[in-house]
Amino acid sequence: MNSPLLILLLLIPAAGALIGALLPIAAARSWALLISVATLLVGIVIACEFQYGFSGFQFTFDNPHLALPFGSSFSLGIDSIALWLVLLTVLLMPLSIAASWEVIKDRPREYYSWMLLLQAAMLGVFVTRDILVFYIFFELTLVPMFFIIGIWGGPERRGAAGKFFLFTFTGSVFTLAAAIYLGYHAGTFDIAAIVDYARSSLTDSERFWVLLALLAGFSVKVPLFPVHTWLPLAHTEAPTAGSVILAGVLLKLGTYGLLRLALPIGILTANSVAFPHVIHFLGWLCVIGVIYGALVAWVQQDVKKLVAYSSVSHLGFCVLGMIALNTYGIEGSVLYMINHGLSTGALFLVIGMIYDRYHTRDIKQLSGLARRMPILAFFFVLFTLASIGLPGLNGFVSEFLTILGAFTSQYLGIGFGTFAALGIILGAVYMLHMVACIIFGPLKTPDLHGHGEVPGDIGKREIAILVPLALAVVLLGVYPSGVLRSMNDAVTRIEQPIAQLQQFNGGAQHRGLIPAAELALKP
C-alpha cells in the first residue's frame, strides 16, 4: 500500500540540498538543476499514475516507525488539489534555478542548497496528511526563504527578510497552538480525523477561536489585506528566483492551508455553515485587498513592486472564491492558485531578465523595450494578458469562476461580486499601464555610462525558461476543464456539508453543484 513516490519527492531535493552543499562551487548550479529536474520527473510520474476519477488520497505513505507520541505520524498522500500544487512547485523550481544561472555569483553552493531545501519544505506542505507535519513543513519554508532574501536580495534585503520571517512566524504560532489543541482533543493529528472531530464535537466558541488561530497563520501567508505589508518588500528585495517561488508557491501555502484546514475545521460544521459573519468579514477583506492592491499597484514606480501589489489583489480573488463556499468558487480558487503561480511567476522572471540587462526596474527609466527586445516583449505581453484575465489565457477562467462563485454564493452575494469585478477592470488598467510604459512607446533605456555593450534580446536559455510557462498559460486557458474536472471530487469532499444542507433545504437548483468543468466547456 505504501507508495515510495511522495517520499522520493521530498527526499530528492532534501538530499540534493545536503549533497550540493559539499560539491565544488562550479558544479553547484548544474547539480541543483539536475536535482530539480529529477524532482520534476517524479512529479510527472505521479501525474501519470494518478487516478483522476478517484476522490480520496493517493500514493499514501504511512510508517508506524516515524510516529510521535500523541498520535502524530509522518503520513503522506495527495488528492487532486494537492496534485496540481505539487506539479506547480516541481515545474517552477527548475525554471527558477535556470533563471539564477548567470545571476547568482556570490556563494552559489549555499544559494542552490537553500533553494532545494525550500522545494522540499514546500512539497512537504502539499503532500502531508498530518496537521503537525503540515505545520513543520509550513514553518520550515521560512528559513530558506529568510536566507535567500537576506543574502542574495536587493539593497533593503535585511529588513525585508526579517519582516517576512517575523510576520509569517507571528501568524503561524497561533496556528501551531490551534493545531496542538485540535490534535489533543481529537486524539490524533491526522487531518481527516481532525476535520471529522471538529465537525462533530467542537462547540461554537471553541470553533470560533480555532478558526481565528488558523486564519492568523494563513491570512498572513496569503496575504489578506491588513497583514500584506511584508509582501511588497519581500518580493521587491528577493532575487528573481526568490520572487518567483514566493509568488508562485509560498503564497499558495496560505490559500492551501485555508482550503485544507481553516474552511473544513472552522467554517463548515456537520450540517451548517458556522460564522457567516466571519465569512462576510473575510469577504470584505478580500474585496478591499483586490481594490486596494490594484490601486496601489497602479502608482508604483518599481515594476517588481507593481507586480507584488498585483499579487495582493489577485490573492484577494482567490480567497474570495474559496469563501464563496460553492463549487464554482472553490474550483475557481484552486485554479486561481495555479494560474497565479504560473503567470505571476513568469512576470517576475521577465522582469528579472530586464533587470539583468539594465539594472533598473524603474518604470520611468525604461520605455519601448519592444523595439530592442521583441522576443522578451512578446512574452511580457503574453503573461501580462494572462494575468489580466484575457479570455483564451489561463487567468480568465479562474477569475471568472471566482467571481461567479461570489455572485451565486449564499454567503457573499452581489455586492462582493460587483466589487471584485471592479477589481478586474482596475487590474487591466495597471497592468496595461505597465506594459504601455515599458514595452511600447519610444525607446528609452538607462544610461549605461559607457560600460559594456548595449544589451540584446533574451537568449536561448531565457527563452527555454519562458516557453514552458507560456505553453502552460495557453493550455490552461483553452482547456481548463481537464484540471477542473480532475479536482471536482476533492472539492465536493471539502464542501460536502453544504451540499447536504442544500439538499436538505430542497435546493432545487443545486446552486453551486454544477461542476465548474461543465460550465467551462459551455460555449
Binding site: 513543520i136 537576506g150 520571517f165 517575523l166
Partner: protein, 528 residues
C-alpha cells in the same frame, strides 16, 4: 550504610574528584592544568554511567536507614541530563591556550584545576537536589550548586566587570538563600520534620496547606525564582551573564536553573502529598510569574545590544516557558495531564541545555574586540558577517537560534510543543496564547543574531584579525568545537529523527513522577 553509599555514589565520585582537583590546583605546572578538565570529564562520565545502568530497571535507590536520599526515575533523568550537559560545559571551558591558563574567551590563570573542581561541586549540587528527601539536604544541594558559581564568575577572567558580576551574584544569591531557608524553617516548624516524605504525610489532605505553610511555599518559590532567573528576581541576570566569561555564562544559564526547577518541583510535590493539588493562590502566583517572566524576558531581549546580555534575557524567557509547564502541572487534578506537564518540563530542560551550549560555544569561538581581552564576541558588531567567514559556525549559531525560537526540525520546536500540549490539557488558554506571542516576539532578537552573522555586510570592527599574528594567543579550540558539534547534532537529531524524539519523550515520561505516590507500596518499603 551500604544503601546510602550506593545511592550517593555519583555525588561521592564528583565531590572526591573535585577535592583531588582542588589539591591539584596547588601545582603551578601547565600539565596539571591540562589534566584537570580530563579528570573532570571522567568523573562526570562515571557519575552519569552509574545512573545509566539503572535506567529502565525500576529498582529505586533508597537510603532506608535515614531516608535522606530517594532516587527514582525522575532523579535519574535529572542526574543523567546534568552530567551530559556538564561534560559539554567542561569542554567549553577547556584551557586551550599554550600554557593552559585559559581559552579564547576566558582566563583563569593558574586556577584551572580549582575551576573544574568547582564545576564538579556545582553539578554534584544538582545531583543532591534531585535525590534529596530531606529539606536540609535539598537546601545543601541548592547551595552546593550555587556557591561554586559565585567563585567561578570571579575567577573566570581578570576583568573588573567579572569581579563586579561575581560580587553582585553572591550578595543577591545569599539573600535568596536566606529567604529559602526562612521558608524551609516554616515548613519544618509546621510539620515537625525535615523529611520531604513525612512532610507530605503531615500536610492535612482535606484542609490543605495552613497559612503558615502557604507562606513557606511562597518564600521557597521566591528563593527558587532567583536560581531560575524568574521575574521579578531576574535583575542580576543581565549583569552577571555579561560580566562572566562566556564559558561560565553558559554554565550559569543551565546549572542554577535546573537546580531551581528540580527543587521547586520536589517541594511542590511534597507539600501537595504527590497530588500536585495546591491552593489556588499558589497557582495564580505561578501563572503570573510565568507570564511576567516570558514577557519581560522577551521584551527586554529585543532592546539589548550585548549578545551575552541578550542571552541572559533569553534565559529568563525560557524559564518563563518552563513555568507554563509548572503552572499546568499544579492547576489540574488529572494524573495524565500532570505527567504530560512534568514530561514537558523535563524535555524542555534537556532541549534548553543543548541549544544553549551550542549558542554559547559558537560565541566563544568568535573573537571579541581588541581592547577587551579575555572575552568572546560581545556585541552585534563583533559578530557581523561572521557567518560568511565561518560558514559552519554560522550555521551552528543559526540552528541554535532557530531552535531557541522554536522553528521545526530542531529540538526547540518539540520543547515548545510539549509545553503547549499540557497547557491546553489543563485549559490554560491564555497562558498558551501568551506563550506563542512570546515565541513570536523572541524571534525578533534571535533573528537579529542570525541576521548579523549572515546578512550584514559591514566590515567587522577592529577585531582579532587586525592584530599582528605574533600577538595572537594560540588556541586549539578543538574541545569547544567538539562540544558545539555534539550539542548541535543532538539539537538536530531530536528535531529531525522523529523516533529519537519519541524515545527521548518516553524517557522523560517514565521520569515524570517525582516519586511514586506517598502511600504506595514502594514508599511503604522505604519507611520500614
Amino acid at each position: 550504610m551500604n544503601d546510602l553509599l550506593r545511592a550517593m555514589f555519583p555525588e561521592i565520585v564528583l565531590c572526591a574528584v573535585a577535592c583531588v582537583l582542588l589539591l591539584m590546583g596547588v601545582s603551578m605546572k601547565a600539565a596539571t592544568r591540562r589534566a584537570a578538565p580530563v579528570l573532570a570529564i571522567l568523573a562526570l562520565l562515571v557519575a552519569g554511567a552509574s545512573q545509566l545502568s539503572m535506567i529502565g530497571g525500576s529498582a529505586p535507590r533508597l537510603d532506608l536507614r535515614w531516608n535522606s536520599v530517594r532516587i527514582y526515575e525522575f532523579a535519574r533523568y535529572v542526574k543523567l541530563l546534568s552530567s551530559a550537559i556538564g561534560v559539554l560545559l567542561v569542554l567549553l571551558a577547556w584551557p586551550s591556550n599554550s600554557d593552559a591558563t585559559g581559552g579564547p574567551a576566558h582566563h583563569f590563570g593558574t586556577e584551572a584545576a580549582e575551576f573544574f573542581g568547582l564545576m564538579l561541586l556545582s553539578i554534584a549540587g544538582i545531583f543532591l537536589v534531585a535525590g534529596a528527601n530531606d529539606i536540609m539536604l535539598l537546601f545543601l544541594g541548592i547551595e552546593l550548586a550555587s556557591i561554586p558559581t559565585y567563585i567561578m564568575v570571579s575567577i573566570s577572567a581578570p576583568r573588573a566587570i567579572a569581579q563586579e558580576a561575581g560580587v553582585k551574584y553572591f550578595f543577591l544569591g545569599a539573600m535568596a538563600a536566606a529567604l529559602m531557608l526562612f521558608g524551609f524553617s516554616y515548613l519544618f516548624g509546621t510539620t515537625g520534620t525535615t523529611r520531604l516524605d513525612l512532610i507530605a504525610q503531615r500536610i492535612n489532605p482535606i484542609t490543605g496547606l495552613t497559612s503558615w505553610q502557604l507562606l513557606a511555599v511562597v518564600l521557597l518559590i521566591v528563593g527558587f525564582a532567583f536560581k531560575m532567573a524568574v521575574v521579578p528576581l531576574h535583575f542580576y541576570a543581565g549583569d552577571v551573564y555579561q560580566g562572566a566569561a562566556t564559558p561560565v555564562t553558559a554554565f550559569l544559564s543551565f546549572v542554577p536553573k535546573i537546580s531551581g526547577f528540580v527543587a521547586l518541583l520536589k517541594v511542590l510535590f511534597a507539600v501537595t502529598a504527590g497530588t500536585w493539588h495546591i491552593a489556588p493562590q499558589i497557582v495564580k502566583l505561578l501563572w503570573v510569574l510565568a507570564v511576567l517572566t516570558m514577557s519581560v524576558g522577551n521584551v527586554l531581549g529585543l532592546v539589548q545590544v550585548n549578545i551575552k546580555r541578550l542571552f541572559a534575557y533569553s534565559s529568563i524567557a525560557h524559564s518563563g516557558y518552563m513555568l507554563v509547564g509548572v503552572t499546568a502541572l499544579i492547576s489540574t487534578t488529572n494524573y495524565e495531564v500532570q505527567s504530560t506537564a512534568l514530561q514537558g518540563i523535563l524535555f524542555y530542560l534537556t532541549a534548553y541545555g543543548l541549544m544553549n551550549v551550542a549558542a554559547f560555544g559558537v560565541l566563544i569561538l568568535l573573537p571579541g574586540r581588541l581592547n577587551q581581552p579575555f572575552t568572546s564576541a560581545e556585541t552585534f558588531d563583533d559578530i557581523a558577517g561572521a557567518g560568511r567567514e565561518h560558514t559552519l559556525l554560522g550555521l551552528a549559531m543559526a540552528v541554535s537560534c532557530f531552535s531557541l525560537i522554536g522553528i521545526p526540525l530542531t529540538i526547540g520546536f518539540f520543547g515548545k510543543f510539549f509545553l503547549i500540549l499540557p497547557a491546553w490539557k489543563a485549559n490554560l488558554t491564555w497562558l498558551v496564547v501568551i506563550l506563542v506571542i512570546n515565541a513570536a516576539v523572541s524571534a525578533g532578537y534571535y533573528l537579529r543574531i542570525v541576521g548579523s552573522m549572515f546578512l550584514s555586510t559591514e566590515t567587522p570592527g577592529p577585531r582579532f584579525r587586525q592584530q599582528p599574528a605574533s600577538d595572537k594567543p594560540v588556541h586549539h579550540p578543538m574541545p569547544v568545537l567538539v562540544s558545539v558539534g555534539i550539542s548541535m547534532a543532538a539539537v538536530l537529531w531530536f528535531g529531525i529523527v522523529f523516533p529519537a524524539t519519541s524515545r527521548l519523550v518516553t524517557r522523560a515520561a517514565t521520569a515524570a513522577h517525582i516519586e511514586p505516590a506517598v502511600n504506595s507500596p514502594v514508599a511503604a518499603v522505604s519507611q520500614r
